[in-house]
Symmetry: D2
Subunit: 340 residues, 4 copies
Amino acid sequence: MNTFGNIFRLTTFGESHGERIGGVVDGMPAGIILDLDAIQQQLDRRRPGQGNLTTARNEADKVEIYSGLFEGTTTGCPIGFSIKNTDHHSADYSEIKDIYRPSHADFTYDMKYGIRDYRGGGRTSARETACRVVGGAIAMQVLDKLGITIKAEITQVGDCKLHGTEEEKAAQYEEIVSAVKMQCDTIGGIITCRIDNVPVGLGEPVFGKLHAALGGAMLSINAVKGFDIGDGFEGVGKKGSEQNDEFYAENGEIHTRTNHSGGIQGGISNGAEIYFRVLFKPVPTILKEQNTVNSKGENVVMKAKGRHDPCVLQRALPVVESMAAMTILDYYLLSKTNKL
Amino acid sequence: MNTFGNIFRLTTFGESHGERIGGVVDGMPAGIILDLDAIQQQLDRRRPGQGNLTTARNEADKVEIYSGLFEGTTTGCPIGFSIKNTDHHSADYSEIKDIYRPSHADFTYDMKYGIRDYRGGGRTSARETACRVVGGAIAMQVLDKLGITIKAEITQVGDCKLHGTEEEKAAQYEEIVSAVKMQCDTIGGIITCRIDNVPVGLGEPVFGKLHAALGGAMLSINAVKGFDIGDGFEGVGKKGSEQNDEFYAENGEIHTRTNHSGGIQGGISNGAEIYFRVLFKPVPTILKEQNTVNSKGENVVMKAKGRHDPCVLQRALPVVESMAAMTILDYYLLSKTNKL
Amino acid sequence: MNTFGNIFRLTTFGESHGERIGGVVDGMPAGIILDLDAIQQQLDRRRPGQGNLTTARNEADKVEIYSGLFEGTTTGCPIGFSIKNTDHHSADYSEIKDIYRPSHADFTYDMKYGIRDYRGGGRTSARETACRVVGGAIAMQVLDKLGITIKAEITQVGDCKLHGTEEEKAAQYEEIVSAVKMQCDTIGGIITCRIDNVPVGLGEPVFGKLHAALGGAMLSINAVKGFDIGDGFEGVGKKGSEQNDEFYAENGEIHTRTNHSGGIQGGISNGAEIYFRVLFKPVPTILKEQNTVNSKGENVVMKAKGRHDPCVLQRALPVVESMAAMTILDYYLLSKTNKL
Amino acid sequence: MNTFGNIFRLTTFGESHGERIGGVVDGMPAGIILDLDAIQQQLDRRRPGQGNLTTARNEADKVEIYSGLFEGTTTGCPIGFSIKNTDHHSADYSEIKDIYRPSHADFTYDMKYGIRDYRGGGRTSARETACRVVGGAIAMQVLDKLGITIKAEITQVGDCKLHGTEEEKAAQYEEIVSAVKMQCDTIGGIITCRIDNVPVGLGEPVFGKLHAALGGAMLSINAVKGFDIGDGFEGVGKKGSEQNDEFYAENGEIHTRTNHSGGIQGGISNGAEIYFRVLFKPVPTILKEQNTVNSKGENVVMKAKGRHDPCVLQRALPVVESMAAMTILDYYLLSKTNKL
């Protein structure tokens, strides 16, 4: 269950404060010249310590690749990689080691496994997503060759839908998150992801519908609580006549006039832009007192210390893109088996 | 990709107007006395022709079970079953056989496979979900023994959130859907599903988070375009301090005071009620003229005939419950392997 | 675990004396015109009651196909099928229902599941292999289009290696098996299977080596206890210099001068003929008295009644070919994803 | 395809002359205190450079474990590990980089992927099996808690069946292999593996028969060309009456008087000792001239240099045990889901 995908597969390992996190990319097509800098750039986008609104934890997050490449080109063999955890402040966690932090996974892990690495959230830390970014960045380089592009952006923070230019949106984001940080609180929001130039025909009926795969992928990201595609929840009031996408033919090509479906019909890509929304809840770690329980079953009061993000949306962008990239590539490879 | 699940697995086959639909349930625990009537009752809830608001297609939908039972008790061997398609009006479809109906899967299937059974939507028909109901009804009988209950209900039709008693909600549903039917149009909405008495500890980090599995399962149902859990999209404005679920201990048990998380934390059930929303788009088949394209790439005008649902929510209830039941049972069985 | 394969997948169900056996073929490429008679012919080869050396049980074994075809051509959708069990003599088994037959699975099933369908061996009956023959016959029609051929033959019965023309071999087989039948005993032997025109490049390192997949497939057939490829166990005395297959180039093509490897090197097909041996133990049901134990744990003496094969080799031929065909097709489809 | 197992899963990566080889163990039960020295000891048994009959390549082969442990105890999270490749003599290979060595995978890899890491065999090198030994050594520690023991031994070298005491067998092995080495040749043989105290009930019908899983696992080891269980090929002459294992009851327990079946009946363990044979072909690298072809399709003559094993049997013992251990643990965990 630490493996994602069918043909293109990512297996990850590692805890927040262990020695290394890492993984294995399997099913990578042979013959692709890998740009290692591009992988590192995606990792850097996810890296903490890049501004005053993300955690101050400063890790180099340099990925080391061990296999699957020969003179820079993929060989079809599995790509093993790891990232060193360099900036441990485990001491920050020792005093909460017996405390079940509200809306964290401390309690559920303890109940499930009878043991957990409490340092920095252990396996449940979003640090694990760095490995997804490596996998995704590798997948993107294949999609690139196919002309497929993926772009995630923050479209809503808390109740506020961002609007205007990229710059204006960035300013709105900064402003809201800064205010929340001042309150020692956290905030969630919505990331919208757009995938362009997906060929017609990706998606496997019936349980492997493309949006089911994308939804499952997104919902596996830490703090994600919702997913919709096309008009989604916001279109719930529209009737069939308002939500149907009529086809038209032009110059021998078939397109839809509208794209309420979000580029997928019957679970299969129709060539239009795929777009979907991913809902992130607020980070549960807040710098306020909270009532909770410890592992002895005693009611206690806790207050988090350490460095924490008031909002993860910015850092989650490459993670959303990565899960999308791996899903699309996996289904692209699967689709090659549909006909002889 | 016509198989769902890891340990408890359902494989389905069949087209809307073929001879039979059916499937195989694998991984069923041995020693469960199966109540066949209960399976049929779930199927009957999904069956068309039950009122003036569902399609008039009247099929007996009697499930035949071929294997996996000995004197009424499950043996641990796979349960093969099928349902006869008894009420074909294939002729209704012959005149649209070359037409790509808007927001249906005709176009995408043709592009993907180069061939499709156009009659009644073939494999893309929601008729396939009858097989899921069989699988789900079998899973439910195991969950029953574990004390786990699942209940889906319609909470929103179009823009209208249903309220009041069950009777009042039913009346609101009838009224809205009748009005839409009069307009020869269709309408979507939201089903909320609640799962109670789930033991703590179901869910497999990191890609097998329980809500990722539930989300993927729901998004694989025909016409589903969105999923959220707990507060979901409606809670997007709440801060961390408002959305966190504080723990408290009482009589040696640990619970949360609130349940914004929807019963799952870190991807693992925490013992609280699991609840989530499933968004259905309007059925794309409307009894109005629509512009579209045929398989020769010509622009044409079409108008659907035949019998069609103005709203699928009522019939989708047992499908949602079934996918939930199979997911929960599958993860229950998986959780048995977490410790020696 | 009742599913075989990765991309091309067969799921089977059914017990010897249940109502029906059957299955689902998933991952079938679209656009193949299926010859249903060819499927039936393979089934007929496996069918009992064809001579005085196979069980007298006479079943029509007519396969009914329910889905996945449109006007005779595969659509890429799953192919559901079933076969009626028409010739039950369950009464033959009632008196041994509590007896653990030596070297049968009665005891192990009872211990594993706590319940079993004792009639005719239930799920453990080789009758299940009829479903494999259906899956294999479908796969063969795809391989046919690729020019790949598969042929299994009996090469050894008991200690006796068959030799000479096909007719002579058949006579030797008849003679040995007749003699064994007279003794109320049973005999095993070896089937050799040859696969020709396999393209270079099938097989997935490292755990999915092509011969590992073939071996696992063969060992899953009832009564199979051994598998080897190329020179196999008989070549154990040869040194590296005697067993290596030297390459040579001719007319721009690369071949090996010898084929000790059996057509697979490093787990990947090299274009030479693939050949392997499959060892069948004698059928455990003998018409002699045997000491054994009943389900109450009492020592008893039993003697089988009913109709039983003195040797399964003849009927196993299409089963071996079928498992080979499904494996090769599965790996052919997988190989399409190795490069972009 | 670089992942092995269903619940307990090993994913490996790495080439012979890359920077590191390694892998991820997933599905490890939580709460097991891991003895890291025991893992290293198994690795040391497989390590080259231990005598004058194995390759002189001297690698520390120290495994580094990155995750899945907390204070020495498994947490149920994936165990990432790697081993540094310290002793590269890549130059030894540069002159054969374009040559397809007979009975190696150079040709098939090149045809399949269009590219390969020729240094030391790249991914096809048996060096990959070091990762299997890590996975197996971890699995063994769980089996240990269950009382299950696994022991592989060399029973035949070339034509010669070893006999006598362990010491005598070792002397025979030394003698034969030394003689072969003098001839600049290589030799194969047979390893017999015995697994004791396996509980009744492991094995999943029908495609997941326990011996099919074991066979597939063994056949995935480099140079393995055959597998049989119980009497196997050597018992082919025995009739049913001679090969059946009669049951008897004693002190409330049921056992078989003989064990021709090798501890598995109907694909499920019966509580008796599981034993099977694994056939290894001679290493294809011989220090003699051989005719072959280069990647330009030219006929050439080659002679291997570098350090090579005349016989791999000794070093393969922990690999066989490891694959057995992982298979048995995987099926043990699966069997926990057979009943509620």
